[in-house]
């Protein structure tokens, strides 16, 4: 492709216009963007943002656009450390991208249900977790579905729903920080926390 640099016409037109605007062949116009700039200088400008409040942008140039000086980061992004509140119950484990409570998990749920029925004042939080694969939002919803599947099963075993609650941590709180199937299998879990 030749001649992407065909300046001439526009440059001539714009510069002549600029010269005329300046009213002097030696001067060329410079648009002012300062807060004290002439109102006309901002006439051709449009805010790059959109919607309510976006028009702030261009005329009082950076005053509104740039945030105030920020303190340096208090701490640089660092090493993953997660903590798990210990539980007297085993975790319920799941297959990849699944939320069905399997046989092993059903046995665990039976133990939990027996405990809850013997301790009617107990309140149980069911945390839903995922392995590190896949995007955070989807895993967040998947963790919620896993926690809810366990809650539903506990209710079917006779635990009052009012004693149960759920929270999903998605992929954010791995139990095992490893990056292999063994770690992932441990991390796809529902974890019980007595409150």
């Amino acid at each position: 492709m030749k001649g992407t640099f065909s300046w001439k016409w526009a440059v001539i037109v714009v510069s002549i216009a600029a010269l005329m605007a300046a009213g002097c062949a030696k001067k060329q116009t410079v648009k002012s963007e300062g807060a004290q700039g002439a109102p006309g200088a901002a006439a051709g400008q449009a805010a790059p943002g959109a919607g309510a409040g976006a028009a702030v942008k261009e005329s009082p140039v950076p005053a509104a656009a740039a945030p105030a000086v920020q303190p340096p980061p208090a701490a640089a992004p660092g090493i993953a450390v997660t903590e798990e509140r210990p539980s007297q119950f085993d975790d319920v484990r799941f297959d990849f991208d699944k939320s069905e409570v399997k046989d092993e998990g059903r046995k665990t749920c039976q133990v939990v249900a027996d405990f809850m029925k013997k301790n009617p004042k107990a309140k149980l939080l069911i945390e839903g977790h995922c392995d590190e694969r896949g995007t955070p939002e989807y895993n967040m919803a998947l963790g919620e579905r896993r926690a809810t599947a366990v809650m539903t099963y506990l209710v079917s075993l006779g635990v009052p729903k009012a004693d149960l609650s759920t929270v999903s941590f998605g992929k954010e709180k791995p139990l095992d920080p490893g990056h292999n199937e063994e770690a992932w299998a441990k991390n796809r879990r529902a974890h019980f926390v007595l409150k």
Binding site: V14, A21, P136, Y138
Partner: protein
């Protein structure tokens, strides 16, 4: 687009003074990969009152910006022969043949002065062949705003040559684990990799940052109370408000282009659906639902449609639907796992994460599901969570290998890539701010 409108406005002012039927503009074809680059020289700045080092520091910021576009060849300052002085801002012409001789087809000059906490910068772009002013601007602000002012003029230069406003001065918000905290915080970093800082610091999980269309607010999910809720944070003032408390897990997806609505995936009784809520407050309205998980809404630039993820077909896939109308179209294909759509502000493409051969890769597709294309992949790691730049020409995404991750930026045709921030742990959900 708005930027084109702005351009027309500027040109109309000129035209009304000198009507002319046709005027081809000095032009760089941004859609022609490997096309000719514009040789440009950025002269040392004239410093009035102020730190003399500004003379080199400002051209460096400007040159780094221009280099990022890969549309320009910077003529090194060691080759410059003419010293720019204050007189060049009051009528004395530059010796353009000299600039042409060292290969520059365009020349940028500038002067800067600092009086107390008052910063003034004037910058001019000249056509070295014609010896004419192409664009000139005067800026004033505080010294802390220097970078943002220079980015603005870099955007002017890109706009002058391409007709598309540059994205310098835009920022990327993302979540990552922080030093000693067991949680994750939201960070913000400039698109040039500068000025990395924390937006949150509460040591819980702070996730899924999304920018409002005016760039003033970030919506995000925080576990600071022990359960996830969605908050809005003003990035300038730090003011904050809670917008969604209803439901279980929840993640904001994006704002409507008019800034009125926030779209979010919200779980109720374990089933996540797509809702929207007025930013000023109010009840949630359901936008898309089904027996499956519906998450990650990304509105189209005209606000009429959303792209979102649903696993209604047995695996997570990306769908597009018109807001307020029944039915949706699946647009992801050839993968058993497609998530995190990002609708380009240019409107023509939707990027998403796809699972391919055991790895996660970035793909783009037209909103009707045609023209699917691989954009980013890595043989030794995962590429996830794409977010388009405001001009639609680039994508930011996470690259993850065994827990350590970085943010990378790639041109939307997949040809050019750079690392934005490296050495992060569990970085996620990068979101590119709107234009500045």
């Amino acid at each position: 687009m708005r930027t084109i409108g702005a351009a027309a406005g500027v040109l109309l002012v000129a035209l009304s003074l000198f009507p002319s039927p046709a005027f081809p503009v000095l032009y760089i074809d941004i859609n022609s990969p490997g096309g000719k680059r514009m040789p440009i020289a950025v002269a040392d700045f004239v410093v009035g009152p102020g730190d003399p080092s500004l003379s080199r520091r400002i051209p460096k910021i400007l040159s780094d910006d221009l280099a990022l576009t890969e549309l320009f060849d910077l003529v090194p300052s060691t080759a410059h022969m003419e010293t720019v002085t204050a007189a060049h801002f009051s009528g004395k012409p530059l010796s353009f043949p000299g600039w042409k001789m060292i290969g520059a087809e365009a020349v940028v000059i500038g002067n800067v002065s600092v009086r107390g906490d008052r910063l003034s910068v004037e910058m001019r772009l000249y056509d070295a062949t014609q010896g004419t002013l192409m664009v000139g601007k005067r800026y004033s602000g505080t010294p802390a705003q220097l970078r943002s002012i220079v980015h603005r003029f870099a955007n002017e230069i890109v706009f002058t040559f391409t007709g598309v406003r540059g994205v310098f001065g835009t920022e990327i918000a993302f979540s990552a684990r922080s030093g000693k905290s067991r949680g994750k915080e939201i960070y913000i970093v400039g698109m040039d990799g500068q000025d990395l800082r924390k937006m949150t610091d509460n040591r819980s999980f702070n996730l899924f940052p999304r920018w409002s269309p005016d760039g003033q607010w970030v919506a995000y999910t925080s576990y600071r109370t022990g359960v996830p809720n969605i908050y809005l944070r003003n990035v300038s003032t730090g003011a904050e408000k809670e917008v969604v408390r209803f439901g279980g897990s929840k993640a904001p997806g994006g704002f409507s282009p008019d800034g009125v609505w926030l779209f979010a995936g919200v779980s109720v009784a374990g089933n996540s659906d797509i809702y929207r809520v007025r930013v000023v407050g109010g009840t949630l309205e359901k936008v898309a639902d089904g027996w499956g998980l519906e998450v990650s809404p990304s509105p189209s630039p005209d606000g009429r449609r959303i792209a979102f993820v649903s696993d209604r077909g047995g695996s997570p896939q990306v769908y597009v639907k018109s807001i307020g109308a029944a039915g949706e179209t699946r647009i992801s294909n050839g993968t058993n796992y497609a998530t995190s759509p990002s609708w380009s502000p240019a409107g023509d493409r939707i990027a998403y994460t796809a699972r391919s051969g055991g790895r996660f890769v970035i793909m783009t597709v037209a909103p009707d599901g045609s023209g699917s294309r691989d954009v980013a992949s890595a043989p030794d790691g995962d590429c996830e969570d794409p977010s388009f730049s405001p001009d639609g020409r680039s994508l930011v995404y996470t690259y993850r290998k065994r827990g350590y991750s970085s943010l990378k930026i790639i041109s939307s045709d997949g040809r050019r890539q750079r690392t934005l921030v490296s050495g992060l742990v569990d970085a996620g959900s990068p979101a590119w701010s709107p234009g500045r």
